[in-house]
């Protein structure tokens, strides 16, 4: 025991710097920053300090000299009994290592930033970045088996993503936790900086205001600053949802969707296709979710955009020569492929004319590729995540098949335009695995006993007679059994949810999530005890690595293990975002 204590003391001494209290510096230690990209610098001291005691140096020089601007001193931050200094929108025009030392009284903090340059000339003209929200290995495997089939242990066909050339494992953790969400993960891809859960395009500071956090540059901003490329976003979620928002926005709180919609409008992406029209409508219009009179529909029209609100209008709009296309197909999130195309459940009765990810991606490619300077298109299959949360694996997997078809379009485009970098990935993972099959034909007296594992799993009997890539039906007699490794209390029915997306748990009067009794009497349903806190409504994101795949110029830089923020650097280098490409 004494030996153990001695070891502990030694390690404590080794790993803790001997400082009374430490300030926090944003950007955080080990930040990687694109050369000449604007960012905010903030130092948060632990206590109230005197302005005259504050010193901030960069590589030994006064920060104001290196950064070209003076710090603003805040004696007491709003709602915080402590001081801070900040400078907004600084740039570092030379690549290199920058050591920042902030001091005030007994507080001292040292961080190091790496400012990276890029080649002068781009290797890629276009980037198509496809992200299936929550894409885990189980989704891919299930999509391949469900879509292509498997016999004698070999897949009977390949997904489009299966033939991308390079791959990397991506670490998705956030700045304050191993765990992660779609805001900080996509923000890392789209800014090159890691951040906190719920945050987009900012480092998360300690003040309550969700709009005052230190900003970093987003991909859309960098493209506007350095290139004449077009920018497009396609998603099946609301266009203000975390993943598409991360291309543009700056906020600590992803829920600030009305404000996010303003940020998107400021950057005017050439193509925007998805849901979330509620945040485009002024508050007086029933269906609006704004709290002001801003009318983005009118503003976009005045800015020269063609508007499409249905599948057929999108088809017509594809031929538009304005080069600016706004497609809004739902007030909220769009329905899943399974509901939209096959079951007609969810909200399809209210919004029957929704296009799918494939049509939206094709239209976006058609419109964006008319720009001779090139384009960056972000495509998100949002429902892979939105259906994995409520443990509705069939819907999540069918949307993964749709996602793969969008990757197919990207590959077709790249075959004709080889100066196109394709990245296909998830933003984070879910705790899900395929553990075998459920076999209705098996002679057993309960659904649980009809689960086949190991040799008994056999092969599922999905069919795709019409060759559209989707199984003709998902409720076949021997189907894949996907199981979550976490979740709230719920009933496992061992069957696809043909009447609408699964609602596993409901909140009770004590604020705890309990199993939804609506599934209790489904024949064979068994109660599954939850293993996350009862405040959790659905399954949670996993901390597991994401598998990223890529093809095209620059793709060879994706390899081994990479932090999610490193992905931005590969894109920045491929597009030479360190070099000014406009006059």
């Amino acid at each position: 025991m004494r030996k153990l204590l001695a070891t502990l003391i030694t390690s404590t001494v080794l790993f803790s710097p001997v400082v009374a209290s430490a300030a926090t510096v944003f950007p955080l230690d080990r930040a990687t920053i694109l050369v000449s990209s604007p960012f905010d610098v903030k130092v948060e001291f632990d206590g109230v300090v005197a302005e005259g005691d504050v010193s901030v140096t960069v590589n030994g020089q006064p920060a104001a000299e290196v950064l070209g601007k003076s710090f603003t001193f805040i004696e007491k931050e709003d709602g915080v009994d402590a001081s801070a200094v900040r400078i907004n929108e600084v740039t570092l025009p030379s690549p290199g290592t920058y050591t920042v030392v902030a001091k005030a009284g007994s507080e001292e903090k040292t961080v190091t930033w790496e400012v990276y340059g890029t080649p002068e000339a781009p290797v890629a003209k276009n980037v198509i970045f496809l992200v299936a929200d929550g894409l885990s290995v189980a989704h891919r495997t299930a999509a391949r088996i469900m879509s292509k089939g498997m016999s004698e242990g070999k897949a009977n066909g390949r997904l489009n993503m299966d033939d991308l050339d390079y791959a990397a494992f991506i670490g998705t953790s956030s700045t304050e936790s191993v765990a992660t969400d779609s805001a900080n993960t996509m923000s890392a891809y789209m800014t090159g900086h890691k951040t906190a859960v719920n945050a987009l395009g900012v480092y998360a500071d300690r003040t309550a205001d969700p709009m005052d956090d230190p900003k970093v540059e987003t991909l859309a901003e960098a493209l506007r600053r350095q290139t004449g490329k077009s920018v497009g976003v396609v998603t099946t979620s609301e266009l203000q949802d975390a993943t598409p928002a991360a291309v543009f926005a700056h906020t600590r709180r992803r829920a600030e969707k009305a404000e996010i919609n303003n940020h998107i409008f400021d950057l005017k992406p050439e193509v925007m296709l998805g849901g979330g029209s509620a945040y485009f409508l002024p508050q007086t219009q029933p269906g609006s979710k704004r709290k002001d009179d801003v009318d983005h529909i009118t503003l976009y029209k005045e800015a020269g955009y063609t508007l499409a609100t249905s599948k057929s209008e999108l088809e017509t709009a594809a031929g538009t020569n304005t080069g600016k296309l706004l497609g809004l197909f739902h007030t909220g999130n769009m329905d899943t492929t399974l509901d939209r195309e096959f079951l007609k459940k969810g909200t399809v009765d209210k919004f029957p004319e929704q296009p799918g990810l494939v049509q939206m991606t094709q239209t976006a490619l058609d419109v964006l590729s008319r720009n001779d300077e090139g384009f960056v298109l972000i495509v998100e299959a949002a429902n892979v995540d939105k259906m994995s949360h409520p443990l509705d694996w069939d819907r999540a997997v069918v949307d993964t098949i749709e996602f793969d078809k969008a990757i197919g379009l990207a590959r077709e485009f790249a075959a004709k335009n080889p100066d196109t970098l394709i990245v296909a990935t998830g933003d984070h993972t879910h705790g899900v695995s395929i553990v075998g099959t459920v076999n209705d034909e098996k002679d057993a007296d309960s659904m649980r006993e009809k689960v086949g594992t190991y040799a008994e799993a056999g092969f599922p009997n999905y069919e795709d007679k019409n060759g559209d890539g989707y199984p003709d039906r998902i409720d076949v007699s021997r189907r894949l059994f996907l199981a979550a490794n976490n979740g709230p209390d719920h009933y496992e029915t061992f069957r696809p949810k043909l009447d609408g997306p699964f609602v596993p748990a409901i909140r009770n009067e004590d604020g705890k999530y309990v199993a939804n009794e609506a599934y209790k009497d489904v024949p064979g349903a068994v109660f599954v005890q939850g293993n996350i806190p009862t405040s959790g409504d659905t399954g949670v994101h996993a901390v597991d690595d994401v598998v990223l795949q890529a093809s095209g110029p620059g793709a060879e830089k994706f390899k081994g293990y990479m932090e999610q923020s490193d992905v931005y650097r590969v894109i920045a280098e491929a597009l030479a975002l360190g070099a000014k490409q406009t006059q």
């Binding site: 219009q285 029933p286 269906g287 809004l328 909220g332 609602v503 748990a505 909140r507 939804n516 599934y519």
Partner: protein, 152 residues
Amino acid sequence: MPALCFDRRRMLAMLGATAMSFQAGQTSAADNTIAFGQLYASFGVLGLTFSDKVKELSGKAVSMRGFMAPPLKAEANFFVLTEIPLSLCPFCSSDADWPDDIVVIYLDRAQTFEQANGLIEVRGRLEVGSWTDPESGFVSLLRIVEAGFHRV
């Protein structure tokens, strides 16, 4: 994939949401009971249109059946009524959002909320039109005010 055939028995076995909408559908259009399906004449990307029934009943005593969404806090004078039970809590989860067709219920007095896992009936006076709650900042289009509710 061709259209799937529905397993009728399985559908009926699903209680809760489905059962609720069947019950709501049985109410007569002539009385002051409003079903969720009767709130809007049309749903569109560019907005929703109130139904004639809602316009006629504006300012009058009405009753509605639905589910209490997870409340903002245990004791309050308002809650959100939804057509189907919500698995996500838009008040507490930043990646959840409200469905389009919600009705905000303002009670005649603040009270502690009970079991949200079941159908309730709300009675009160219907208010139509955009209004921002000065206390919570919550914007609503349809409200039942001076309301009371009970389990069905």
